[in-house]
Amino acid sequence: MGSVRQLEEIAIADCAWEIDAADLPDLFETAVRALAELTVDPATLAGTVEARIELRADSLDLLLFDFLSELIYRRDTDGVVFHGGRVAIDGDGPYRLDARLTGGRIDMASTMRSNDPKAVTLHQLAVEPHEGGWRARVVLDI
């Protein structure tokens, strides 16, 4: 699993991350986990939900934008927070994502809730090769 660093000087009312990972699937899987942990304590989600998400985008950064946006959308519409799973990415522009994710439902009585990330921004959005692995920068609206 990759690592997430908070960028504290950027968009200070919101949430800015720098994500480092060994490869692209790891980068996207780390982002899933980070989004879940920003939102809830994943251990307190109710039940187990599995889902498959397939997306396509012209660039890797927009693929990450669309992927995180889809996770936020599913949380708001289905009450599900995904916190794990496997992500496969192929293509060299356009890029295709095939994610098989695991999560749970927000239970208003028992789930420890924290932030409500509501959108992904394009501000400083980047997904780039970095020191033999991959690095992403993403700012979420809180």
């Binding site: 908070q6 504290e8 000087e9 950027i10 968009a11 200070i12 009312a13 919101d14 949430c15 800015a16 939102t39 809830v40 927009l62 934008f65 669309d66 946006s69 936020i72 959308y73 949380r75 708001d76 519409t77 009450g79 927000i106 208003m108 789930t111 420890m112 809730r113 924290s114 932030n115 409500d116 509501k118 959108a119 992904v120 921004t121 394009l122 501000h123 400083q124 959005l125 700012v139 609206d141 809180i142």
Partner: protein, 481 residues
Amino acid sequence: MRAERVGECVWEIPPSEKPGMRVPARIYASEALFQALDQGVFEQITNVACLPGIVGRALCMPDGHWGYGFPIGGVAAFDARSGVISPGGIGFDINCGMRLLRTALTEAEVRPRLGELVDALFRAVPAGVGARGFVDTDVDTFRDVMREGAGWCVRRGLGWPEDLDRVEGRGCLPGADPDAVSERAVARGHRQLGTLGSGNHYLEIQTLRPDGIHDAELARAFGIERPGQIFVMLHCGSRGFGHQIGTDYLRAFEAVMKRYGIEVRDRELACAPFTSPEGQAYFGAMNAAANTAFANRQVITHRVRDVFASVFGRDARALDLEVIYDVCHNTAKLERHRINGAERDLLVHRKGATRAFGPGCPDVPPAYQRVGQPVILGGSMETGSSLLVGTATAMTETFGSTAHGAGRTMSRHQAKRQIHGRKLIRSMAERGIMVRAVSEGGVAEEAGFAYKDLRAVVDVLARTGISCPVATFTPIGNIKG
């Protein structure tokens, strides 16, 4: 980046400072606030000054800080024929805004029942991530909400008819187009009507300290009569619905900019010509979201009235739970302004900035024509919030705009490292402020020290004449997501 001091609290960055700047950028700040500004404000407000069709100056209010696209506190006006519309100049939380209610209650009456009141409000108004609203709207009904805004609520008995007289635009912006809204946005939004949200959103019970009245005559115009009087303040917006519309059109605009020959310095400033099909579609969708935000604050007001009536055993009318005003701080609005002696139709973007029309302006409610449009500045939950009014100076200097709050000084993460939410809640209780929150971490993120001194922001607004202070309210009870 070089900024020249052109007034006691006004700093101007000339177009020569960045390639592509079409107009100067102005920052409203005292020396101390200016020196404390983060670098992002300078980059972002000068990026805004590069956008096509911008008129006059790009402006940043004294509560400004690093945002995305526009800085928070950013104001920019674009020619309605040749300019652009940008979701990054409005924010994802379309028509995030403030509503202030007065009551006839006193702190002496409320204090003994404060715990009961705060608990009841916390139960009545769903807050935090994942919350579902208490107003059941199916998809078709939600389209009516998009068109009618707060008026839909009043029609359904979720408000008083006179409430609409004291809401910006009577709680319904013209031009809402439900057909320009995606199914995904509706799916996110239609079950969130009547939710507070989280982050910096709150529902607060406030009192007036003896030193809280800055202008007694203006205060009387709003029914602000005496120290100890109790007020209720709401800060929330269009919830997931507005965010999804922002997301949808941000992606769409990024794809079409090349076709219109537009280049931006920050991708979050993705935009389209206002008169283009894409620009008009976003404007219609944005107004739909703005109207649902008015409706959201209206139905929460209805719940607040029910709770107060239940706790104090008196009808909400007997408690004088009247709306003082409801004002947006994330919108783009078509307005007519006088520029160099000529009237021009402008699309005024305000992101974390409030409209502040002066006395006599046609859009100011009849009851406030003499004093000017109320402006509500939400401060921190520890230090309080302020009411001001718009001025004639704002009309000539800032497209009738002013600040929206205190403005942050540090990131959420940094605030959380400095204090634990539980400790802060305990400390606030010792100081007479009762907090009920979904997330203790969320409380820590909103600590008073994470914000600028609201008094310093208000002081700049007063010294520059773009708003006139009326009163400052002190929190005694706070509901947070």
